[in-house]
């Protein structure tokens, strides 16, 4: 069966490629014969295979359910599957604007898990560490021997589903951005447990002061006060938990499951974050964050990440990718749902220009008349004659190569379109032994390489993909797999009248639960305050009754 590679990253200077497929991570030796070097499987994989039978059975019983708009994750939880139906029904009601104002609140859902696909994958520049995020909100760090062997070094679970990760330029810290709009800093190598301050664990948005557990930043000055604030929070929570019946999963209880490892809240948007990037200028670090509401924020780096330097504003649709073309560059390329890529001088927020993407997309599309762009990845590379940025878009079987001219006036120009045999899922540049652009393709032979010479790319053929799949043979129906692989278009806002809000009640103290977004587009479903995804609001009709 065709389970494609959804994430790629180069591993250091040895010509090793790291690729994720389903719940597994593989390394390949591209320097010689593309041979498979190692395999890592998510520990739940075996457990999942037990669960799979149950899920399949459930679907037979209720075939209509797969037509509902819930992300697959919601239906594919491990363990307690049986209670799900009624709960999902009530969630649909609560989320559907059509159903209007409901006094009755959805019952708290049991903790749920999705198939822990690898959703994000990066590596340090020298390849000594690989960082992966799985759909169960866990950040994994692997040590890499240099010969392709990955050794699990830490495993940290995050309060909310990470949506983008990046490394600070010193490569000591992971920047982890989540769907709730927050960015956390995690040390690549966690300090030994004894050194970690014992702090009460609280839901992150409620306890930003926890940000300063280690005495390493400006917030520390206030630690006394912060700790008092934390203490208050903790008391409130404990009381709440006492009130909640033991045994029933209470929504607040899930937030108390916040991990206790060191993760410092650096900054946050009130929006879903879609990309985070580290940048350096004149020796100073910065953090760039992009959100679903068209903002790119430029903040100072650690330890002054609370200072917003500027915004790069100009996008008119969601953002999905940021690319600093080379370390230390004053330039930033960004894109998402807009028909063009934007080129910025990021530290001033100045827009330098845009480069059409929709045109090339339309030319390359199998179905003519594509009207929208859903940019899924950007990456960049240097050759002797310049700097290039590569873009891929969801469900468009091509790679689009742009050249970045820094002077006399900076601009970005489309120079080449490389057609592919299928839809690309991820791209990576391998510099050794020869510079190559690597792309993973959905549905066909999975990974392809292109030689990068003097700014032109030429196809080199495919990398071996006959990898034993036994442990990852997650037999997902195609629509469900698509929901895991193609998530960008879902970021687009669709217009709908939130009429429920115009309810004419007096100033009642209702908290507007009826306005809550239906699904939050993935693992966090059902949690409070999830960022809404427009189309779900529109589409989430109650589940049809199969009777």
């Amino acid at each position: 069966m065709a389970l494609p590679y959804q994430c790629l990253t180069a591993l250091g200077k040895g010509g090793i490629l790291c690729a994720a497929r389903g719940t597994s991570i593989y390394t390949f030796d591209l320097a010689s014969d593309s041979r498979l070097l190692s395999t890592w499987n998510h520990p739940s994989t075996r457990q999942f295979e037990n669960g799979k039978a149950q899920v399949a059975a459930q679907e037979n019983e209720q075939p209509k359910e797969s037509e509902s708009d819930q992300p697959p994750a919601k239906k594919r939880r491990l363990g307690s599957e049986d209670k799900s139906k009624s709960e999902e029904t009530s969630q649909h009601d609560a989320g559907s604007p059509a159903s209007g104002h409901k006094k009755q609140k959805p019952k708290p859902a049991p903790p749920r898990q999705e198939i822990p696909f690898i959703i994000l994958l990066i590596a340090t520049e020298d390849g000594s560490y690989v960082i992966a995020v799985t759909g169960d909100k866990v950040v994994w760090v692997f040590e890499h021997s240099g010969q392709g062997m990955l050794k699990e070094s830490s495993q940290r679970s995050m309060p909310k589903r990470p949506s983008s990760i990046s490394l600070t330029d010193d490569e000591k810290t992971i920047l982890c951005a989540d769907k709730f709009g927050d960015v956390y800093a995690l040390p690549v190598v966690p300090p030994p447990p004894s050194a970690t301050d014992v702090l009460p664990s609280v839901a992150p948005a409620t306890a930003p002061p926890r940000a300063a557990p280690k005495g390493a930043n400006t917030l520390t000055v206030h630690s006394q006060r912060n700790l008092r604030a934390l203490e208050e929070q903790r008391k409130v929570r404990e009381q709440r938990e006492k009130k909640a019946k033991p045994g029933t999963a209470h929504p607040d209880a899930s937030s108390s499951a916040t991990p206790e490892h060191q993760h410092e809240l650096l900054l946050g948007h009130v929006s879903m974050l879609t990309a985070v990037a580290a940048a350096t200028l004149e020796g100073k670090p910065y953090i760039l964050t992009a959100d679903r509401d068209e903002h790119i924020r430029v903040s100072r780096g650690i330890p002054q990440a609370h200072v917003v330097e500027t915004y790069c504003l100009g996008h008119e649709a969601f953002l999905s990718a940021l690319c600093i073309p080379r370390p230390g560059s004053p330039h930033l390329v960004s894109g998402g749902g807009d028909p063009a890529l934007f080129l910025w001088e990021w530290h001033t927020g100045r827009l330098l220009g845009t480069a059409d993407l929709l045109g090339p997309v339309q030319e390359a599309s199998s179905s003519p008349g594509a009207a929208k762009v859903a940019l899924s990845r950007l990456c960049s590379y240097d050759t002797e004659d310049g700097t290039y940025v590569v873009a891929i878009c969801e469900r468009v079987p091509a790679m689009f190569i742009y050249q970045l001219h820094a002077s006399p006036t900076a601009n970005l120009t489309h120079v080449q379109t490389l057609r592919l045999a299928g839809n690309p899922l991820d791209i990576a540049v391998i510099r050794y032994p020869v510079p190559r652009l690597i792309v993973s393709i959905d549905d066909v032979e999975s990974i392809r390489a292109f030689a990068l010479d003097n700014g032109t790319c030429t196809a080199q053929g495919s990398i071996q993909s006959s990898v034993p799949l036994a442990s990852t043979s997650l037999e997902l129906p195609r629509p469900e797999l698509d929901k895991l692989l193609y998530t960008v278009e879902n970021l687009r806002k669709t217009s709908f009248e939130d009429r429920a809000e115009e309810g004419e009640g007096e100033d009642d103290e209702d908290e507007g639960e009826g306005l809550k977004a239906g699904g939050s587009g993935g693992g966090d479903g059902g949690e409070e305050g999830g960022q809404s995804v427009g189309d779900r609001d529109v589409n989430s009709a109650p589940i049809p009754n199969p009777a």
């Binding site: 002061p209 206030h222 809240l265 948007h269 009130v270 002054q304 009248e497």
Partner: protein, 284 residues
């Protein structure tokens, strides 16, 4: 909700009449009712400028529109870019410098207007009906005071300030931000919905100039403690000493003039005030 066409119709008729001929009639609240809360996370049908340079303030402050003159060498047009190539909006003679976040029915704006006649103040409110009420109220006040020219310096627009403040204001554009009787969002899981949080405070710091003040008032003691803790914990803010706070004429107005404050007064509730000064950013 859909089953109340009459009420909806009546409200529309009233509002239409108010717009057409009632420029000096005060709007009546009952035609502008709306549920008390709007979810700050969801995608409302909001309009907001792509950048602060795109914001057309002229309809909010018609008395402050700069004479439409000569060469358009305004600073922002020098950046010839695709997005800004659309016609730039009309310019005002001065920038908006004071914001009332979640202004509700506009009592604070109306009271501050004569107190700071040379400053432009904008109320930002997420609820459509409530925003419309304030706009109609301002129109009526301007009509009633056409001789003196009062109330030309206040305006109200619909916005979700938790998401879009930087779309409206440049860095350091503001001198004062008022946050009066914000929704308490008692539930722990809704704390990110609070209008004051450490991460959001960075955005307030961005739009406020050093020396500028955040004014907070609430009748909910827990929320007061929360706001104090979170603003003090933020390195860009320092609490203003009580003496200075009480000497600030805005504080008196804030205590007595907002609708919510009056409600608290009637119920003999307590009011907790705290002010915070925007500090200079440390060197970088």
């Amino acid at each position: 909700m859909a089953g109340q066409p009459n009420k909806r119709q009546k409200r529309q008729d009233y509002r239409q009449a108010q717009r057409e001929n009632g420029t000096t009639n005060m709007p009546r609240k009952k035609f502008y009712r709306q549920r008390a809360h709007a979810n700050p996370f969801s995608d409302h049908q909001l309009t907001y400028p792509v950048t602060p340079q795109h914001m057309d303030w002229s309809t909010y402050f018609p008395a402050f529109v700069a004479p439409q003159d000569e060469d358009t060498t305004m600073s922002h047009t020098t950046e010839a870019t695709d997005v800004l190539s659309k016609r730039p909006p009309k310019q005002l003679t001065k920038d908006v410098e004071v914001v009332d976040i979640g202004c509700g029915f506009g009592g604070l704006l109306v009271a501050l207007a004569p107190a700071m006649p040379d400053t432009l103040l904008i109320g930002m409110e997420i609820r459509t009906q409530v925003t419309a009420f304030v706009q109609d109220r301002i129109t009526a006040l301007r009509g009633q005071n056409s001789e003196s020219g009062l109330y030309q310096n206040i305006g109200c627009l619909r916005a979700n300030t938790m998401k879009f403040l930087p779309n409206f204001f440049r860095k350091a554009q503001l001198t004062k931000i008022f946050i009066c009787f914000p929704d308490p969002h008692f539930k722990q899981r809704k704390h990110k919905a609070r209008i004051v949080s450490t991460t959001l405070n960075s955005e307030y710091a961005y739009v406020l100039r050093p020396g500028g003040i955040v004014y907070t008032i609430t009748d909910v003691e827990d929320l007061h403690d929360w706001m104090v803790q979170h603003l003090e914990a933020h390195p860009a803010f320092k609490r203003v000493a009580e003496e200075e706070q009480e000497a600030d004429p805005c504080v008196g107005i804030m205590r007595t003039e907002t609708e919510e404050g009056k409600k608290v007064e009637r119920n003999k509730g307590q009011k907790f005030v705290a002010l915070f000064r925007r500090l200079e950013d440390p060197p970088w």
